[in-house]
């Protein structure tokens, strides 16, 4: 790989690394109080330092320039030169945001937001007490040669000074010179490339053999190098032995004379071994929490999951064969198969585990969000996170993140009262929001709990009645009233705050959760607070399904969505307005979907009493699905159809059955949605 290609590849690593570094900075800054300890500030500083170094190295000068200011501020803080103030923290947090954008823009090769950069730069400069500069603090891009050491000598710089005939150099190295591998011969050779060199060694300090320490250097030198050489070039050669040399420009008269070596006090021998730093931190067993893990590309994982799926199918196929075999062999075959089943199940579980990520990835956004929002709303909040290590599938995690944000913002905005109101009602000024997660059964439960004002049941009920969502005489339990807020367009907020009252709302949150195969509900006590409870399946790619048959086609319905299955009795089936069929199940009327009509397949019989009614539920709503027969229940691997087709109504995906045929998986929420809006039977249009 050429250098350019490799650097482009490495730049990608840098971008990812920077994002992680910015996360470290942000979470560090959020926990930085007045009593900040040195190590916390150091961690934040190191992250900024790394980003600065990397961005400069890989040629992202603007990122480097901006980070320089951030790093300087952090450096002063960690050295105790500058106090850690809330204002500084806020500016640093904003700088993190700005850097995130800069990194993203740089990666996508889009223009940077110069206005924002300039504004933050001047804020930082203001704090640093300097006059704001028009340009960010310059950081030389990697192409520039290493800067000359900031030596006090007057002639630092690129121009040859007077006496451009050369230089007289006196080199009096410390005793450690050779130990530290600053080879004089190398330096002199480099010098010789600049011009003719005459070197004289002064051996006067070399002791007698029995007093000689073979590791020490007792020599010093006088060197003449002639030619039009700039001082900077000499400094480059001797840069690592600063303070051990000096040079005077050589004039023609002096060129042949040898200046007397200046014998100052003998340089102290400084045996390195005498200096000892603090004992190194205990190595070994206590490795950092995430060493021992590797990154895996999602496509690789998906591939493995596919393979596992096929393994399941093969296993299934083999089980089918067992029936037609010689009885003597049968036992061994059965044993083998049950072993195979066990192996496969274990493999499947460990593979699904790879896709599992701790929910902390979603929870981690919240300290920042709560911090910013509480400042904006002038409310005092304490955020508590529990169960951050609870794991769930990567895709579920990604999709639950935004709904959670909405719920938390809602709790902060509408749930929690202002500090004054809280004090007035005898509560502590600071409200609390708790985000917790834990496993229960085959699901993950996420709770958002606040100790705010709770839901105003009377108001909600009134609004619902006004909107016709609830009949005037209908009696609802407290819980039912609370959960009315999930209905579309429902917002009882007095003022629609730009934070969460936009009516985008709770109904979208619920729909998103339902689409994940999950369930959400709220329970609340007025004056005390509310708890929102979300239940999600642990994984999306595998489903426990019920196989149903309609005519020659087989469909799969998720077992979780099935309430019960009943034989249809004709007297309970009615047709409304000539089109919609409903079935009376105890005390409710269920709309009925005939799958034969829904999917255009020829059923065994059109008489409802010949078939079975599968009662399904999603989104709190139920429907009955008419099928010819129930077949087996089995675990199926979901194969997406999306890559091949635009989304098909009421079909969630496909799977491959044990006999190799493809069966379609029914999208229960979608099916219910379509039928409850338009009536059952043939679907003519699906309103999204």
């Amino acid at each position: 790989m050429t250098l350019d290609l490799e650097m482009a590849e490495i730049a990608k690593v840098f971008f990812q690394e920077s994002r992680e570094g910015l996360d470290v900075m942000e979470s560090g800054l959020l926990t930085l109080g007045a009593g900040a300890d040195a190590e916390s500030i150091n961690t934040i500083f190191r992250a900024a330092h790394s980003i600065k170094g990397g961005s400069a190295t890989f040629g992202f000068a603007e990122v480097a320039g901006f980070t320089h200011g951030v790093e300087t501020l952090l450096d002063e803080m960690r050295n105790g030169v500058r106090p850690v103030t809330a204002e500084a923290i806020q500016i640093l947090l904003q700088s993190c945001d700005c850097l995130r954008e800069m990194i993203a823009a740089t990666e996508a090769e889009l223009p940077l937001d110069q206005g924002r950069i300039a504004s933050l730069n001047s804020d930082i400069a203001h704090i640093l007490g300097e006059r704001p500069q028009a340009a960010p603090a310059p950081v030389a891009p990697a192409a520039a040669p290493p800067a000359a050491p900031p030596d006090a000598t007057a002639e630092a710089g690129g121009t040859p000074s007077s006496g451009a005939q050369g230089w007289l150099i006196t080199f009096e190295p410390v005793a450690d010179l050779l130990r530290l591998r600053n080879e004089p011969t190398r330096m002199f050779t480099e010098l010789a490339r600049l011009g003719a060199v005459v070197a004289r060694a002064d051996t006067s300090r070399v002791p007698l053999l029995d007093a000689l320490d073979p590791e020490s250097c007792y020599l010093s030198w006088n060197l003449e190098v002639s030619g039009p050489i700039s001082r900077a070039k000499i400094e480059e050669i001797f840069d690592w032995v600063e303070s051990q040399w000096r040079a005077e420009p050589m004039s023609v008269e002096k060129s042949s004379a040898v200046a007397q070596p200046h014998l100052g006090p003998a340089p102290e021998a400084r045996p390195v071994s005498a200096e000892r730093g603090p004992a190194p931190a205990a190595p070994t067993a206590q490795k950092a929490a995430d060493s021992g893990s590797i990154r895996v590309a999602t496509e690789k994982l998906d591939n493995i999951i596919n393979l596992v799926g096929e393994l399941l199918i093969t296993q299934s196929m083999l089980c089918g064969f067992a029936d037609g075999i010689d009885p003597n062999e049968l036992d061994r075959l059965r044993q083998g198969l049950s072993q195979l089943a066990r192996n496969t199940r274990e493999l499947q579980e460990s593979v699904m585990q790879i896709r599992m990520l701790p929910i902390s990835f979603a929870f981690n956004r919240f300290p920042r969000i709560v911090h910013d929002l509480s400042r904006k709303l002038n409310k005092k909040v304490e955020l508590k996170l529990t169960g951050e290590n609870t794991e769930l599938d990567k895709t579920v995690l990604e999709k639950i993140s935004d709904p959670l944000v909405h719920l938390v913002r809602n709790a902060l905005d509408h749930g929690l009262e202002t500090p004054d109101r809280r004090s007035a009602s005898g509560k502590h000024e600071t409200g609390s929001i708790e985000l917790g997660a834990f496993h229960e059964g085959g699901n993950i439960i996420i709770e958002v709990r606040d100790d705010g004002a709770g839901l105003n049941k009377a108001k909600i009920l009134q609004k619902a009645r006004e909107r016709g969502l609830v009949a005037p005489d209908q009696d609802l339990t407290d819980e039912q009233i609370d959960n009315l807020i999930f209905m579309p367009g429902f917002s009882t907020a007095d003022q629609v705050s730009d934070v969460s009252g936009r009516g985008v709302g709770m109904d979208v949150v619920r729909r998103n959760i339902n689409d994940l195969g999950g369930h959400v509900q709220i329970s609340s006590k007025e004056g005390q607070g509310s708890t929102i409870r979300i239940r999600l399946p642990l994984t999306l790619a595998i489903l426990d399904g019920q196989l149903v048959r309609v005519g020659k086609e087989i469909y799969i319905i998720s077992l979780l969505a099935i309430v019960e299955t009943i034989q249809v009795s004709k007297d309970r089936l009615n047709t409304l307005v000539g089109r919609t069929e409903v079935f009376r199940l105890r005390d409710e009327y269920l709309p009925v979907v005939r799958l034969c009509d829904q999917f255009g397949v020829e059923p065994d019989s059109r008489r409802a009493e010949d078939g079975l009614l599968v009662v399904i539920e999603a989104d709190g709503k139920r429907a009955g699905v008419l099928v010819d027969d129930l077949l087996a229940q089995q675990q199926v691997v979901i194969k997406s159809l999306e890559s091949n087709f635009k989304p098909v109504v009421a079909i969630a995906g496909a799977t491959i059955l044990g006999d190799g045929t493809v069966a379609l998986i029914i999208d229960v929420p979608d099916l219910i949605r379509s039928v409850r809006k338009l009536g059952s039977g043939a679907v003519t249009a699906h309103a999204a």
């Binding site: 900031p150 591998r181 080879e183």
Partner: protein, 120 residues
Amino acid sequence: MGKKILTVDDSASMRRMVLFTLGSAGYEVVQTCDGVEALEWAQKSAVDLVLTDVHMPRMDGITLVRELRALTHYKFVPMLILTTESSVEKKMDGKRAGATGWLVKPFNPPQLLATVARVI
């Protein structure tokens, strides 16, 4: 060239850049993520050059140089610290701790190779 270099840097992108640059030039490169890891490794193995960043968690580069100098087989190994141009004290600290010299960040591959060639 057959020479072995121990690099220490907590930044993955920097490690990669150094690995690619030095590896392509024929050096054998051993990479570690921080001072503790490097010191552990060094207890049992020798190299021809140590190249270390300064700001790292657990143990910084200057301390690492100091600790390495205490090991018999590292007494005479050339060691370079990676430092930023503005940090004079780090350079001096490094020298006092026993570093041979330094390489100023940011640097590009040719500069890295040139500096390494000076001491290896």
